[in-house]
């Protein structure tokens, strides 16, 4: 290519010497194509970053939601105290009085990545605060994901499909929902690691090189360090190997790729303390080990068959080996499972296989809104045209089956199944949808544009005399071409229209639904102007500045991370939810009468209680709406709390007709204290709860063991101080 590029501009230059600038830059077609590809990729890279910046521009550069606050606090600790302190950190400021071994119970990938970026920026004298780095980590890695998607698309189909895949995943709402600026959560980095691992593995299978397999092992290590969803990789890859073995598409390259990735990847993964020995002890990882041993047996038999040219002898050898291998395998598996050494599937992952399991057995998992099964509207909302491009892409994949397309098809189908079981897992399905859809788009557009560019055959006037049928056939061939060309142009315009609508939909969805920080609420005031409710931060900063440093705060577990990160106070339970009994104790306290709850609070050394109440503003994610989950979780451990006590005819009410236990429990009293005198809406009686839409039942609330410490300006967060016990005579 270098020779031709040197040859072509020279004569052109001499010929067109009178036309400088643009003509002199005449590139060859290959160079033009490269230029277009590189500039398209650069634009996609920037687009993926910029589309995620809505909330930074509308509000400010802050961390969203709940979990990211924990990640931020740990990253802050890491940058201040170094890796060794971080890796061995025992935190006594949460889960009082138990504490939490943070070093051994988190996935460090995200924090280490952000701290590394921070250090590199400081090395180049960009003195940015770690919070800015944390806020923008997810969009940065989303941009990197588009690059990986391009290379992956190039690997499975061609570079056109790669470009389309990069463009689709840059704005796909399913991915944006968890990687918007400010959403400093594991998934932002984990999806990049997931796609990278898959790409490197497919590359290893395609080339059979040990180096690529080693790279995929490192990709797997990064994924294990970043997110608990690595279990998907360690089960999908063995399943893929099994499918290849069964369909007879196995080759030596598969052996090299899988073995190196499994052994080195497993060893690297065990370096993360949170994962520990799960790769050899947990039921979720046994598929990989089983396939590993199966591969050894399979390829050993294959080699013996090759060196022994006699079929009969080989059959007898086969019989012996197979019986030995199967007996040993079944024996090991049954002893392991029966003795309990191989632990069964944990509740978190078992509820993916049996969606009804969590509701009956583990209320904490069932209560999280992200774990609910997905509705069709969510699919349409998060995927738009990808929903019907996915089956079209599957068709193209099956038309041109190769090792790589089989992998992408399996990834797509399994991830779609799991996305249907749990809303949160739409995120894992998003890259698969984009890849498979890109094949459909690229192949269709290629076919259509080749039809458009095909030159129509000119009728040969002075040719040899043709027979009648031949002339008729030729005439009909000539006739079908112009309609074909028009049809192709129409279809191309249709495809362009669809892709434009996709882009518009994605931008609208990002702007409306996925860019709210959750910690700052916005609404439209009477005059149409925007009203901001910053109550959460107001309350946390009040805690930080007005309470003694060793004060302990009791609240529902949703707010734990935020209280420790922003309020800098010890909490009783937080979002980690690792101890169900402790959470049930808090739930029991919230749903008991005040004197019973006081006993529990004294036993836990609680100084302040924090509740969230939306009755004044109409904010519906408050503690009264979550109250039944507190009752269920508390009742799951302490049978003295019975859910029917709080319901009237199975209905949850807070007005005059509510159950007496409901009207006098601690949560009710703390939320509605002094609310009975407040007028919230014009024309409604005082004490009208705007969320439940009723006038509350018990307006005259007196607190005996607590006193009100602080209520935010819109009554969203209310803090109460626990009075010390009375002196005994």
């Amino acid at each position: 290519m270098g020779a031709t590029s040197n040859a072509s501009p020279a004569p052109l230059n001499s010929a067109l010497s009178s036309f400088p600038s643009l003509k002199a830059l005449k590139f060859t077609t290959k160079q033009q194509e490269l230029l277009i590809r590189v500039s398209a990729l650069a634009l996609i890279y920037v687009l993926a970053f910029v589309v995620r910046l809505f909330s930074v521009l509308r509000y400010e550069s802050m961390i969203h939601e709940f979990d990211p606050y924990f990640n931020y606090r740990t990253t802050l600790f890491l940058t201040k105290n170094g890796f060794s302190e971080f890796w061995n950190w025992f935190d006594s400021e949460s889960w009082y009085p138990l504490g939490r071994i943070i070093g051994g119970t988190l996935y460090p990938g995200l924090m280490v990545t952000a701290a590394l970026i921070h250090r590199i920026l400081h090395f180049f004298s960009f003195a940015v605060h770690i919070r800015e780095v944390c806020v923008l980590t997810a969009p940065f890695f989303a941009s990197n994901t588009t690059l990986v998607a391009y290379f992956f698309g190039k690997e499975i189909w061609d570079s056109g499909a790669g470009l389309v895949a990069a463009a689709l995943i840059a704005i796909c709402p399913g991915y944006i929902s968890r990687s918007v600026a400010g959403s400093y959560d594991n998934e932002g980095v984990a999806i990049f690691a997931l796609l990278l691992t898959f790409y490197l593995f497919v590359k290893a299978v395609n080339t059979g090189s040990l180096a690529w397999s080693l790279a995929s092992a490192f990709g797997y290590f990064y994924m294990v360090s970043a997110w608990g969803g690595y279990v998907f990789i360690i089960n999908l890859v063995p399943l893929y190997v099994l499918v290849l073995l069964v369909t007879g598409r196995y080759s030596m390259r598969l052996y090299v790729a899988y073995n190196c990735m499994y052994v080195v990847g497993m060893l690297l993964a065990m370096q993360i303390r949170f994962v520990g020995f799960q790769h050899v002890q947990s039921g979720e990882h046994m598929a990989a080990m089983g396939v590993f041993f199966l591969l050894q047996v399979f390829y050993f038999l294959d080699w013996v068959k090759y060196i022994l040219n006699d079929i009969k002898l080989f059959h007898s050898f086969l019989r012996i080996t197979l019986t030995c291998a199967i007996t040993v395998g079944v024996l090991a598996l049954s002893i392991g499972t029966a003795s309990g050494y191989i632990s069964p599937w944990t509740g978190r992952f078992y509820s993916l296989l049996d969606p009804t399991y969590a509701k009956d057995h583990i209320p904490i998992i069932a209560s999280v809104s992200e774990h609910q099964p997905t509705a069709w509207s969510s699919f349409m909302f998060d995927f738009h045209i990808l929903l019907f491009l996915f089956p079209a892409g599957l068709y193209f994949c099956f038309k041109r089956l190769s090792d790589a397309t089989i992998f992408v098809v399996m990834y797509g189908l399994t991830s779609m199944y799991f996305a249907g079981v749990m809303v949160r897992l739409i995120l894992v399905a998003a890259p698969a949808m984009c890849l498979v859809s890109s094949i459909a788009v690229s192949a269709t557009v290629k076919n259509l544009s080749s039809l458009v560019r095909a030159k129509s055959k000119s009728p040969q006037g002075s040719g040899k005399p043709l027979s009648g049928s031949k002339a008729a056939a030729k005439a009909s061939a000539d006739q079908s071409l112009p309609f074909q060309k028009n049809g192709a142009i129409a279809l191309l315009l249709g495809a362009l229209y669809l892709l434009c609508r996709y882009a518009i939909h994605c931008t609208w969805v990002t702007s409306e639904a996925y860019s709210s920080p959750s910690i700052v609420l916005a609404a439209r005031g009477h005059g149409g102007g925007r009203v901001i409710f910053d109550d959460y931060r107001e309350a946390y900063y009040w805690l930080r500045q007005n309470t003694p440093p060793d004060a302990k705060v009791m609240s529902w577990w949703d707010y734990g991370y935020q209280i420790t990160a922003m309020g800098n106070r010890t909490v009783i339970v937080d979002n980690n939810t690792w101890n169900n009994t402790h959470i049930a104790t808090v739930g029991r306290a919230m749903s008991s009468y005040e004197h019973e709850a006081y006993e529990i609070m004294l036993s836990l050394d609680v100084n302040y209680v924090l509740v969230v109440f939306g009755g004044v503003t109409g904010y519906s994610s408050d503690d009264i709406n979550k109250f039944l989950w507190m009752v269920r979780i508390g009742g799951g451990v302490f049978p003295v709390i019975k859910e029917p006590d709080y319901l009237v005819n199975g209905e949850f009410r807070v007005d005059k007709g509510a159950a007496p236990k409901m009207l006098n429990c601690l949560m009710y009293k703390l939320c509605y204290y002094r609310f009975g005198e407040m007028t919230t809406e014009y024309g409604k009686p005082p004490g009208y709860d705007r969320v439940r839409g009723v006038e509350i039942g018990n307006k005259d609330i007196k607190l005996e063991y607590l006193e009100e410490a602080f209520t935010t300006s819109n009554w969203i967060v209310r803090i109460y101080k626990v009075k010390p016990p009375k002196n005994r005579w």
């Binding site: 059979g208 040990l210 030596m252 052996y255 052994v263 060893l267 020995f277 013996v304 060196i307 022994l308």
Partner: protein, 114 residues
């Protein structure tokens, strides 16, 4: 019964004859694999006798043997002239990959030994 033992004898003989035809370099790699697997089995037997504490040391020992055996088999596959898929791969590159992967494997093992 006699036919069974006859069959087995015939099997072993033809296996031995076929194996003798393989080149010496591949036989050296096979010897290395057998040595690694034997070491792993010895370690498992020792663990069965004295118990598995500390587990990370046991795992790192066994996995280093298994890992290096598997990598040697991969090297054998890539170097074997009968494999059509790898005929473009120079054996030096295969050996360099083998050395690199072993290096990474043993570095991780040393971190994991505890």
């Amino acid at each position: 019964m006699a036919k069974g033992t006859n069959d087995a004898q015939l099997l072993v003989q033809s296996l031995r004859k076929a194996y003798a035809a393989t080149p010496t370099s591949l036989k050296i790699i096979d010897l290395y694999v057998v040595y690694a697997v034997a070491t792993a089995l010895i370690q498992v037997a020792y663990m069965a006798m004295v118990g598995s504490f500390p587990f990370n040391s046991f795992l790192s020992g066994v996995l280093s043997c298994v890992g290096t055996a598997v990598l040697a088999v991969c090297l054998r596959i890539q170097v074997n002239k009968d494999n059509k898929e790898f005929k473009d791969l120079p054996p030096e590159r295969a050996f360099a990959d083998f050395v690199l992967c072993n290096l990474v494997l043993h570095l991780v093992i040393m971190n994991f030994l505890g």
